[in-house]
């Protein structure tokens, strides 16, 4: 009898961590075979750029979910961040970046403090955050009637520039990913995030600063949602007010498809990125196929999502109980 991990267990773990990548690979191959217009640089960079906004938010969400929580406010913070960035751009590049980060960061911080200090369920606290952030956004824009335009060229360039044909948002995503991955995997803070997600009481008894870790996690999520919103505003050159409704569900889907368990304590960032790309590719393929009515497209997306999680689940099922 071996006391080490069996190969099957290991394959299971591997698949859970990288299953999204495998599915992504399969879809890309299928897409390439089926459509000539799929594997073109233009199409791929479009997918990458479009997915990067979701990916940045999903990175923050990964921290939250690994810590055993959830953040429903990110969709609202995304649109609020965009509006604030566009509004701030009239005072210069710095303001355009600082304002959304400050406000969305504050939102995340307050949510984190409430969750950590009162023990209220993250779902409900961030649901309130979702409403409050959207309410704030509406009141800033005259009930959504005013769209602030990005006045600052430098700031707009951050969203629109594309050195080597690849948009800056993609670079930002990669940078955020790199930093986040180091924090999550290689620092004490990251270990603490896993620990409180795995067993909060035990973590507290092991000396993990539970409250502080939670607060930081929601702060990070708020900051990244704000950053993503600001980047998007730069890309669109305006603070569009009708964005982000239901975005939190897409983000959660990306994270979960990426192999992070909603129960907390397990998961990682590469999967999240693959999950975000997967959603983008699915959408792209549905469009490539064309001919589907809008209603049918939704049926297909839903079925796709279900299929991905089922396949994922079966392949990652562990050998041992």
């Amino acid at each position: 009898m071996t006391l080490t991990e069996t190969t099957r267990e290991r394959a299971g773990t591997l698949f859970r961590q990288h299953g999204a990548l495998v599915v992504l690979g399969v879809l890309v191959v299928a897409g390439t075979l089926a459509f000539d217009t799929f594997l073109t640089p233009a199409n791929l960079t479009n997918i990458a750029t479009a997915s990067s906004f979701l990916a940045i938010i999903a990175i923050g969400m990964t921290f939250v979910i690994i810590s055993g929580g959830i953040d429903l406010s990110v969709g609202s913070l995304f649109v609020l961040g965009g509006v604030l960035a566009a509004y701030g751009s009239q005072y210069g590049t710095l303001a355009a970046l600082a304002l959304p980060l400050a406000v969305c960061g504050l939102f995340g911080l307050v949510q984190g403090v409430i969750i950590a200090r009162t023990g209220m369920a993250p779902f409900i606290v961030t649901l309130a955050g979702l409403l409050a952030a959207r309410g704030l956004m509406l009141s800033l824009t005259g009930e959504g009637a005013t769209t602030y335009l990005v006045e600052d060229e430098t700031f707009a360039a951050i969203g629109q520039g594309s050195p080597a044909g690849i948009g800056y948002p993609v670079f930002v995503t990669v940078a955020v990913l790199a930093v986040a991955a180091v924090f999550l995997q290689r620092t004490g803070f990251g270990q603490n995030v896993y620990a409180i997600g795995g067993n909060e009481d035990a973590a507290a008894l092991m000396g993990v600063p539970v409250s502080r870790t939670k607060i930081i996690v929601y702060l990070v999520s708020g900051l990244l949602a704000g950053l993503s919103g600001a980047l998007n505003a730069a890309r669109l050159s305006s603070g569009v007010t009708i964005l982000g409704i239901g975005l939190e569900l897409d983000v959660i889907a990306a994270v979960v498809i990426g192999g992070t368990l909603l129960t907390g304590g397990a998961g990682g960032l590469t999967g999240t990125i693959a999950g975000a790309l997967l959603l983008g590719v699915i959408q792209n393929l549905i469009n490539q196929a064309g001919g589907l009515t809008s209603a049918f497209q939704q049926v297909v997306s839903g079925a796709f999502l279900a299929a991905v999680v089922i396949v994922h689940r079966f392949l990652s099922r562990r050998a041992a109980p």
Binding site: T37, N43, A145, S237, I242, L243, I245, Q288, Q297
Partner: protein, 335 residues
């Protein structure tokens, strides 16, 4: 499955009357945008790849009629390669939809935008490839000719003003009015509200707008808000609904509260068959049309552009009005 028998059937004779009519081709002094100025290569519309990006699900009469008219017209003209996408009301998705259309080699883009602002990434890519863009029903805030060729659609502010005119007439210039607003953040909502309020302020200072709440363009919300409204403001005289669905919801609410047709004057915008029927039944006072059948006009404009004619910045279409005088006869023309 077996559905309830349909209540009304379309009359093909109305087809002609349904088509959009241009109100202001307003060729500006500058002469409009020509293909030479724009820089797009000339191509044959029939064999070209044409992309159409719809903003919302084809689940309300307006969007259904709009998409259908584009598809029908393309079929009629023999345009074989029409690619249609639907953004399902998600603006980010619409941006990537159009970008994907461009990547797939679209030579002409017809866009029904979900929002007027925020088109920068699309405009850049289209400009790089010199793909002409025609926007329908909502405009894009961008530079004429450099960014897009033309906007074909209604003037929403004007629709609001005309609704106000109807309301003034209905109330004899005096009374309390409630507004059922559209979805917040939507350009259409903003413009239809502004036009209405401007006109009321200018023409009938005795009409007081005492209540404005969003019904989010849906029948259910229209009904719920109206139910609350008639509870707390039983003295309301008129309701301005920014689309027909909300107006019909309001009608259900009024019926439920035991009101009689005409007790509260309802004016709305769109011109769907249900609303026009509402006029016939006496529940709705008037409906300002917003005509969704863009197909013919859009492709005709595109052809003109390809032929080298100058195209104006806006092609504003003529919207009809339905009221008790013409509702019954025009029922077949409503969509």
């Amino acid at each position: 499955a077996k559905a309830e028998a349909p209540t009304a059937t379309a009359n093909p004779a109305d087809a002609q009357a349904q088509q959009q009519v241009v109100k202001s081709p307003s060729a500006p002094a500058g002469g409009g945008c020509t293909i030479a100025q724009h820089g797009s290569p000339k191509f044959d519309l029939k064999s070209a790849v044409v992309g159409f990006s719809q903003s919302e699900k084809e689940a309300n009469p307006f969007r259904i009629a709009e998409t259908k008219s584009i598809k029908d017209e393309a079929a009629k003209l023999g345009i074989a390669n029409l690619k249609v996408t639907n953004a399902q009301s998600q603006f980010s998705k619409q941006i990537s939809d159009v970008q994907q259309l461009i990547a797939q080699g679209a030579q002409l883009l017809v866009i029904a935008p979900l929002n007027s602002d925020g088109w920068e990434p699309v405009l850049q890519q289209a400009a790089a490839k010199k793909v002409p863009i025609i926007t329908i029903d909502r405009k894009i805030n961008a530079r004429h000719c450099a960014d897009y060729v033309t906007f074909i659609g209604s003037d929403f502010t004007e629709q609001g003003r005309r609704a106000a005119d109807q309301m003034i007439e209905a109330l004899g210039g005096k009374g309390k009015v409630a507004i059922l607003l559209g979805a917040p953040g939507n350009n259409v909502t903003t413009e239809r509200t502004n036009g209405f309020k401007e006109q009321i302020a200018a023409k009938a200072p005795d009409i007081e707008i005492t209540f404005e709440q969003t019904g989010e363009f849906t029948r259910e919300k229209g009904q719920q808000v109206t139910e609350q409204l008639i509870q707390s403001n039983p003295d309301i005289d008129g309701i301005y609904a920014e689309n027909d669905e909300m107006a019909l919801g309001a009608v259900t609410a009024l019926k439920g509260a035991g009101k009689k047709p005409g007790d509260v004057k309802i004016v709305s915008i769109d011109g769907t068959r249900g609303a026009v029927q509402g006029i016939v039944d006496g529940w709705i006072y008037a409906v300002i049309e917003s005509n969704p059948r863009f197909g013919q006009l859009a492709f005709a404009t595109a052809q003109k552009f390809l032929d080298g004619e100058p195209i104006p910045e806006k092609v504003i279409i003529e919207d009809r009005e339905y009221d008790s005088a013409n509702a019954k006869d025009s029922l077949g023309q409503a969509y």
